[in-house]
Subunit: 141 residues, 2 copies
């Protein structure tokens, strides 16, 4: 399939002295209006350190880098190598001042490009009836 889509960073993850924040680019700052009414956000970001043709052609990994875990398709993991290098993580908002969102912590590295922020809306009955394979329960991330 020849189609391609283009992403632009809307901001950047910063981590320093035990604090974590996302600075939204000035152009997109109006997109934050009303976000302070939420306690949590889902942050979509780009695994920029893995942006090579080789990493994007990896389709199977040992989850969590542990050879004891079974070889698994990347879509059945959260591995930072995958065809499209999009990571997703949920964060608690501590404050929003101008275009800076301070968050409690974030599972992404300093200087990570941010692609999107989505307010987190819980769904009724989520996590009811959810199944995961043994390797998820036996190892910790």
């Amino acid at each position: 399939m020849a189609a391609k889509f283009h992403l632009v960073p809307i901001g950047t993850v910063h981590k320093k002295n035990g604090r974590s924040w996302i600075e939204i680019n000035q152009k997109y700052a109006p997109g934050l209006l009303g976000l302070s009414g939420f306690s949590h956000i889902d942050v979509l970001f780009w695994f920029h350190e893995n942006d090579t043709p080789e990493a994007r052609n990896i389709t199977q990994v040992h989850p969590r880098g542990d050879q004891k875990n079974p070889l698994t398709g990347v879509f059945a993991t959260h591995a930072p190598v995958r065809p499209n290098l999009i990571g997703s993580t949920r964060c608690r908002i501590l404050s929003i001042i101008n275009q800076v969102i301070e968050i409690k912590e974030i599972d992404a590295r300093n200087n990570t490009p941010v692609l999107d922020i989505k307010c987190y809306i819980p769904s009724a009955g989520s996590d009811k009836d959810v199944l995961v394979p043994d390797w998820v329960q036996e190892t910790k991330r």
Copy 2:
């Protein structure tokens, strides 16, 4: 910021006769290994019908298209117009046969390009202590 990242579709959403499925492109089918151990997936997709410079410059909307909802930044909504047109939705897996994942239902249109599939792993204590603004509770999607 001049950086740009490129996405390739890994598959496509299909809906027909009340059934919904994702067909993964042959090249990426090995990425499905082990996915059948999970009950749910998070599907990242591209709002391809909105892929215009105009829609990607919208930063504020009335949520859920309802003028009664306050003007809100797109990052404080799940609107299908946003700088990067990535949608995210959770689906229950019904079956996985070769490169076809049949799902119970999906909040995306027929022929939507799929960008990523991530196995869903619940986190302990999720949805504890979550706050949302009034408009979320007063209107239904």
